[in-house]
């Protein structure tokens, strides 16, 4: 499903990685590991099409993503370091907007149900600026709990960071469910975790 052909990345004059190739079949989790600053985030952004590779190509369903653009992004959900939520709006409104960006129309009740899974039921309707950093992270991750049939690829950058145990377990179970549905998940995480589905791992050398 997701293949990388000798990816080449230069950031700020530094050569982060070269000739990086891998293939991830469906229902598989790819764990990207490497020291801080090795280029994990750059690789993830490259897989999303946010960062243009200096060389090589990223393919989705054997077609370069540069040619698919919006068709590819309809199937992609990316959660990066930044939460991607607006302080002025409530958690539910943020989820509705985020889903709409990917072409999924949801109602406030669906959004609240997703927030409940992340233990944020009581905070669904207060502006996000009132929430703590950990809670804001959970609002961002609540996107993964939305009923989302079009998502076939999840790219998650440190999803388990700043989460307490039950929130982390909840995220892992969401990932398991999505893998079972045949999706591909690419993820970085410093915390250990286990998933039921097949797990592959690549390490970016420093």
């Amino acid at each position: 499903m997701l293949t990388a052909q000798n990816l080449h990345c230069v950031r700020g004059g530094r050569r982060l990685f070269e000739n990086l190739s891998f293939a991830v079949p469906s229902a598989t989790l790819l764990r990207v590991s490497g020291a801080n600053g090795a280029g994990k985030t750059s690789l993830l952004r490259m897989l999303c099409g946010l960062l243009l590779p200096s060389g090589g190509d990223v393919l989705w369903r054997d077609v370069p993503i540069r040619q698919q653009r919006e068709a590819y992004w309809r199937e992609l959900r990316y959660i990066g370091h930044l939460a991607g939520i607006k302080d002025e709006f409530t958690a539910a409104e943020n989820l509705i907007f985020a889903a709409a960006l990917s072409g999924v129309n949801i109602t406030a009740s669906i959004a609240r149900a997703a927030l409940e899974q992340l233990g944020l039921a009581r905070f669904a309707h207060i502006p996000v600026r009132m929430l703590s950093q950990g809670q804001r992270r959970r609002v961002a991750l609540a996107r993964l709990a939305l009923p989302d049939t079009t998502a076939a690829l999840w790219v998650l950058d440190e999803p388990l960071a700043a989460l307490d145990n039950d929130a982390a377990d909840c995220v892992i179970s969401l990932i398991d469910a999505r893998l079972a549905a045949g999706a591909v998940v690419v993820m970085t995480s410093h915390q250990p975790f286990t998933v039921a589905a097949e797990l592959r791992s690549i390490t970016i050398p420093v």
């Binding site: 243009l52 992004w73 939460a83 991607g84 002025e88 709409a100």
Partner: protein, 221 residues
Amino acid sequence: MSLWTLIVQRDLRIAWRRRSDALSSLFFFIIVVSLFPLGVGPEPGTLRLMASGVLWVAALLATLLSLGRLFAADHLDGTLEQMLLAEEPLWLVVAAKVCAHWLTSGLPLVLLSPLMGLQFGLQAEEIAVLTGALLLGTPVLSLIGAIGAALTVGLRAGSVLLALLVLPLYIPVLVFGAAASGAHASGLAVTPHFSILGALLLASIALAPWTAALALRISME
């Protein structure tokens, strides 16, 4: 509800919640316009002559001031990144944001210009020409400004750089916009100026969102 209305609605609500930003660029416009009579002297003749030039330059600067709002906040909290991954083409998202920006910055300037025109002793007809030209011109300022804002998103001294990039590109709009009132004052027909402003508007609508989207993808790398 289409993504377009969703984004316009979202940006308008943010602008409403952060009213002070929009109001400050409006007050900036009023203050800059009111400074000129103090600087040049209250003599009605000269004031009438330079009214359109002053209002247009003030409109340029006020738009410039408010362009930072277009992408900066979304860049900081990560929503801009998500918009780059939307299933709708990015230029559509950018066009919606520019539309919301114009509604909160350009349009108020247009609605305010008659009041400012009175301050310069303009007659009703002259005010109509000036306001009409501003109505056609301010969207172009927002559209071209979006390209500059997209190029400078995330940069340290972004706002100064933005002015440097965008002001030269504003010159055609300034020339034809201010000249519309000039032509009217000397009894010439105003239609050629309005048609050129209209042409600039159509060209900007066609090209600016796409270019700003390209610039955004580059800046967000």
